[in-house]
């Protein structure tokens, strides 16, 4: 930006300018790193919120689907057997249990049923 003194002390001036430039680059880099870090942090927060939201929707739909399927089976058996509310009530309970069981499996992070049971019995799955 400034004119360079070619006559005397050119080398010295050059050194000084290089040092200054280096400092400037260093500063800029630190700033952009800071910015990158902040961006990454924001992205991970958004991702985590999204994951939590997806998990919540999963739990909700498992519960609803369990009750709905149980209720439907009970209602259908009632229609066939003519024992009107009995099977509906029983299967609604079973459906709720199934939905809840799915949510428990979801929360434990285990998709397979057997390892859950063996865990409950104190054995290693």
């Amino acid at each position: 930006m400034k004119e360079v003194d070619h006559e005397n002390g050119g080398d010295h001036a050059l050194q000084e300018r290089l040092a200054k430039l280096g400092g400037a680059i260093e500063k800029k880099r630190a700033g952009s790193f800071e910015e990158d870090r902040r961006l990454a942090e924001a992205a991970s927060v958004v991702g985590e919120t999204g994951k939590a939201m997806a998990l919540g929707f999963r739990a909700l739909s498992e519960l609803i689907a369990g009750v709905a399927v149980g209720g439907f089976i009970g209602w259908q058996i009632d229609r066939w057997s003519g024992l009107s509310p009995i099977f509906l009530l029983v299967f609604l309970m079973l459906g709720f249990a199934a939905g809840f069981w799915n949510v428990v499996k979801l929360g434990s992070g285990k998709s397979s049923t057997r390892s859950m049971y063996s865990n409950m019995n104190g054995r290693s799955g």
Binding site: A54, S61, E62, V69, A97, A98, W101, T113, M116, R123
Partner: protein, 246 residues
Amino acid sequence: MVAESPIDQFVIKQVFDVGSLPVTNSAIFMIAILVVASFIMIFGTSSRALVPGRLQSLSELAYEFVASTVRGTAGQDGMRFFPMVFSLFIFVLLSNLIGIIPYTFTVTSHIIITFALAALVILTVILYGLYRHGTHFFHLFVPSGVPILLVPLIVMIEIISFISRPISLSVRLFANMLAGHITLKMFGGFVTMLLVSGSWAAYLAPIPFVFTIALTALELLVAFLQAYVFAILTSVYLNDAIHPGH
């Protein structure tokens, strides 16, 4: 006065006929999804550059993402189902993403579509489980290490829990897309309603407009997440078919 109902966007219209076969807007968008997916995958993989271009890195990212999902949940054995999981993921993802563009139709906002996809998944699980393990597949419903007295109850619960899988899989995707699009349309409708009200209320119009923008961003996230959830649950269920008593 703009008084379009927020559920008008889901109406299926017959656009034209091919012979006696009616072609609806839903069918047109499904074909569009296939065309876009084929374009990305065919042109993305045709150059096979060492340093990938945009399309190539897009297709490679999609492949790596789904492959790691399948490997992580169903193991190396599950990779034989990779084509199916990948197709499902890309179809759902593109359908959700295309649906965000204004004036388009969201294929996955109809439960018959999502239920057909979920039925495909669960039928594959049952058929492959029976083919590979025979009656041993039913050990899925009879876990070991349960007191004899409880077995009938547990079996009932496990069967209901299995039947509820396609229901929850399809309802979750459909409900998410439906609810998101209705909310977007409502907030968009608020903007026009406030603007044409002709009173001081018109000054409030930017508030729902800002919400519309934020909701669009949220919908983008939901579109991706629901496709991801669909893919990961497909591989979880397939894992049950590969290792039923595990």
